[in-house]
Amino acid sequence: MSESNTDVNTGSAAPARKEPRHLRRALIIWAVLSVIGIAVWLVVAPFILPSADSTLDSTDDFTIVLLTVLAMPVAMFVFVFLGYSLFAFRVKDRPTEDGVPLQPRPSLQIGWLGITGALCLFLLIWGLFASYQETATASSNTLVVRVSGQQWLWSFDYPQYGVSSQSQVIELPVNRPVQFVVTSEDVLHGFAIRELGVRIDANPGEVTTTSVETPTKIGNYAVNCVELCGLYHSYMWEAVNVVDKASFNSWILSQGGHL
């Protein structure tokens, strides 16, 4: 903030020497708190975010971490300057004098727009890049799972193996690309597996396809429905098991399919 082309308030009693220290002090506090905030976030993040168990989800979770790191100085800017103003410039009751009539210099305005614009551009490029990475084309090895949502249950098909899942479970082999082809029988549903970074709407009469992604860890996860679909929307969950290749093959056979 600079004082420009207005006279300093004749009623102000603050000596000229003291004034610039406010800005410097606030900036230093801002820098320190931003660094501390970023450090705290980087330490805490692995405990807050669920494990990223697919290639897709790793990118997505990393993006959350990165965005929060970038956001920390922005948030601290507002908090620090707000807090500092409250401590330094507060008056107890109705003010008897006016404040210093500051106006932003054109250079401050352009600079601010420039910096926020650059930040914004970076976020945009990152987002485009990350999502471009995720639109990898299916390799010949990709497992295709057909998902059909209805009120209030998901059904699964593995057309490559001639299997319809006989229980309310999706089994996936680890380290093999998988793609979900999703539709709905009645109303809008949302097909989501959090730890695998899978999320897409199930539309009646249309087929939507997720990006290809690869589960990287053996584990148990859940499918849930993320678009309100009526009475038992919040009960519309199924199990997802990521298993090794041998277990997956024997599961296929047990469901009556062919390898």
């Binding site: 997505d60 956001a71 004098e97 485009l128 809008l188 309100l228 009960y235």
Partner: protein, 641 residues
């Protein structure tokens, strides 16, 4: 003039007050609804419940407006071929009717503003009851307190009541009461339309509440199409009608505000001298005029699908649910900026007054508000990244959505700059502005998370979204409303709200709000879906903590109610310039006379020239009649009369 005016002058009491008034409106409306319902029920042999219910609502609307006297002037103008006399205009504006004028079709903008204020407060109260019930249900796993169908209805009611209240919360009460005075006008450009827009809102409320008797609605406030058309019970029709009527109401109000500001600014008030509050409201209503027609049409189409079995949104007959989603979100995104712009403008207005400083970049702020308005029309697709309908458009929508963060950042620059080196008087309005700044940072940043494709992919449809929009709509915009509420209450109602109670209200609200929604952010990061009647065990702790903090929010609501009630009953009278502000509304006496100004003022400068060196000759002119002890030495009102 004619014998009728003489005749009515001789019987000034109960009959004249009751007819026309809201009482006659309701009575006639109920009769009309019953007649229409019986006729249509007989015509369809009871087979089409949606048609019967639609007929009931239509009958109610038509006869309510007949009963409240909305058509009286039109009928006289058209059939009797005479214009209203000045005495009749004043009568219509509520002259000499005391408190009863608030219950009639009164054209005085101050009356309409008070009606809006009362309605907004009631809508917030009822909506927050819904919120508390939601948090009650979500405090433990399982659908224990309510059946999931009831829970979905509560969620939908909470959502739409709050959205409706938030859209009108600043432009309705303050845009009507304060704005004309602030620009130096005697009333709005279209006083009768003004009254009509309020009563349209009022008439929509019984329609909406009737959903409880009709089986509720299962879709939540977004009313997504295949589920909305699915049938179930006629409660969905209540929702559709409410939106249509409300849409008409705000269209009328928007046109009124735009015209008023365009043509009725007082002498000397150029666009560069217009208070920032007026800028915010005008831009917001222009945005609303652009956005709301698609909302109205989407609901008309849903109704047609339900009543007449068309298939706009039914895939098996050739329709598409994506059509609904695009129509809805084309409105849905600008709509949040319709909510945001006036609240941000109120915060800017209030900050200048309570820091005794000019706005740090008034023209820059106007530019950013314009930028937000323009950009907000082209970002709606970010709600639809994962819908499957626009895979190729995801990138352009992401670009636009990221761009909106630039003008929003300017807003922070302006407010922080205004606070910097001011003389900060921490009144209750100022507390709410500061809470708004804190919450808006969090809300805005999490919006960026949702705008980015990779993160949207793991957060869409989850509680992270819910927490984000509560941080922005409630934590920022409703706080802005409360800043305006505490700021203008002394002018509108002539009394001082208790400061201690106001502080309680703020701190309970802010602490409760932060606790509740930060917990829900965490639940969203874990993957909790929205609209969960049945909380899954992994999310139970976060939801329990959120529900416990909600108790504080509930307490804050009741403290506010207590404050308003005791202030109205025996509060201290306020002075006419309670805060030492410089905008025109503080130059008129409290209570504000019917025609606002004795002589229309002439304006020579922006109302933010605090701290400017003033020629000695003009120094010391008191801003209030009789002077107020402790008024700033350099206080110079905007007015030269």
């Amino acid at each position: 003039m004619s014998s009728t005016t003489v005749a009515t002058a001789r019987r000034p009491n109960l009959i004249n007050s009751l007819f026309p008034s809201v009482v006659s409106g309701i009575v006639l409306g109920v009769i009309g609804a019953a007649i229409a319902g019986v006729i249509v029920n007989a015509a369809t042999h009871g087979g089409n419940q949606d048609a019967t219910v639609s007929a009931v609502f239509t009958g109610w609307l038509l006869f309510f407006f007949v009963g409240i006297g909305a058509f009286n002037g039109v009928v006289k103008w058209g059939f009797a071929r005479r214009d209203a006399t000045p005495a009749e205009e004043l009568q219509l504006a509520g002259q000499g009717q005391g408190l009863w004028r608030y219950f009639r079709f009164t054209t005085d903008h101050k009356v309409v503003g008070m009606q809006y204020l009362a309605t907004v407060l009631v809508l917030f109260f009822v909506g927050s009851m819904g919120a508390f019930l939601i948090r009650l249900e979500q405090s433990t796993p399982g659908a224990i307190y309510f059946n999931p169908a009831t829970y979905n209805t509560i969620v939908g009611m909470h959502g739409i009541l709050m959205i409706v209240a938030a859209i009108i919360m600043v432009s309705g009460p303050f845009g009507n009461f304060i704005l004309p005075i602030m620009i130096g006008a005697r009333d709005m450009a279209f006083p009768r339309l003004n009254a009509l827009s309020y009563w349209l809102l009022f008439s929509a409320i019984p329609i909406f509440l009737s959903t409880l008797a009709l089986g509720g609605f299962q879709t939540g406030w977004t009313g997504y199409a295949p589920l909305a058309v699915q049938g179930l019970t006629p409660g969905m029709d209540a929702y559709c009608f409410t939106i249509i009527v409300f849409g008409v109401s705000i269209t009328l109000a928007a046109m009124n505000i735009v015209t008023t500001v365009l043509v009725m600014r007082t002498k000397g008030m150029t666009w560069g001298r217009l208070p920032i509050f007026v800028w915010g409201v005008v831009l917001s209503v222009i945005l609303g005029l652009t956005a709301f027609p698609t909302f109205i049409m989407s609901q008309v189409m849903v109704l047609m699908d339900r009543v007449f079995q068309t298939s706009f949104f039914v895939a098996s007959y050739g329709g598409s649910n994506w059509l609904y989603e695009h129509l809805f979100w084309f409105m849905g995104h600008p709509e949040v900026y319709v909510i945001a712009l006036p609240a941000m403008a109120v915060a800017a207005e209030v900050t200048a007054v309570f820091t005794r400083k000019p706005l740090f970049g008034y023209r820059l702020l106007i530019g950013s508000l314009v930028g937000i308005s323009v950009l907000s029309v082209i970002v709606w697709g970010h709600h639809l990244y994962l819908s499957g309908s626009e895979n190729g458009l995801a990138a352009p929508f992401m670009l636009d959505t990221e761009l909106i963060s630039i003008p929003t950042g300017v807003f922070f620059l302006v407010l922080i700059g205004t606070l910097w080196r001011g003389r900060i008087w921490v009144t209750v309005p100022m507390l709410f502005v500061m809470g708004m700044l804190v919450n808006f940072v969090i809300g805005g940043i999490t919006g960026i998370f949702l705008a980015d494709l990779p993160t949207n992919e793991i957060l869409h449809g989850g509680m992270f979204v819910t927490a984000h929009f509560h941080f922005t709509l409630v934590g920022s915009m409703v706080f802005g409303f409360f800043a305006g509420f505490y700021y203008w209450f002394p002018k509108m109602l002539g009394r001082r709200l208790d400061t201690t109670l106001g502080q309680f209200h703020f701190w309970l609200f802010e602490i409760g709000f932060l606790g509740t929604f930060l917990s829900l952010f965490y639940a969203g990061l874990l993957g909790e879906p929205r609209w969960s009647a049945n909380i899954a065990p992994p999310f139970a702790t976060a939801n329990l903590i959120a529900s416990l903090f909600t108790i504080l929010i509930a307490a804050s609501v009741f403290v506010l109610v207590y404050n308003v009630v005791i202030t109205l009953v025996r509060g201290e009278l306020a002075t006419s310039n309670e805060w030492g502000a410089k905008t025109l509304e503080w130059t008129v006496p409290t209570p504000v006379p019917l025609e606002n100004f004795e002589h229309l003022p002439e304006v020579k400068s922006l109302p933010y020239d605090y701290g400017s060196p003033v020629p000695a000759a003009e120094r010391g002119v008191p801003a209030t009649e009789g002077g107020v002890a402790g008024a700033p030495l350099q206080a110079k009102p905007q007015v030269e009369s």
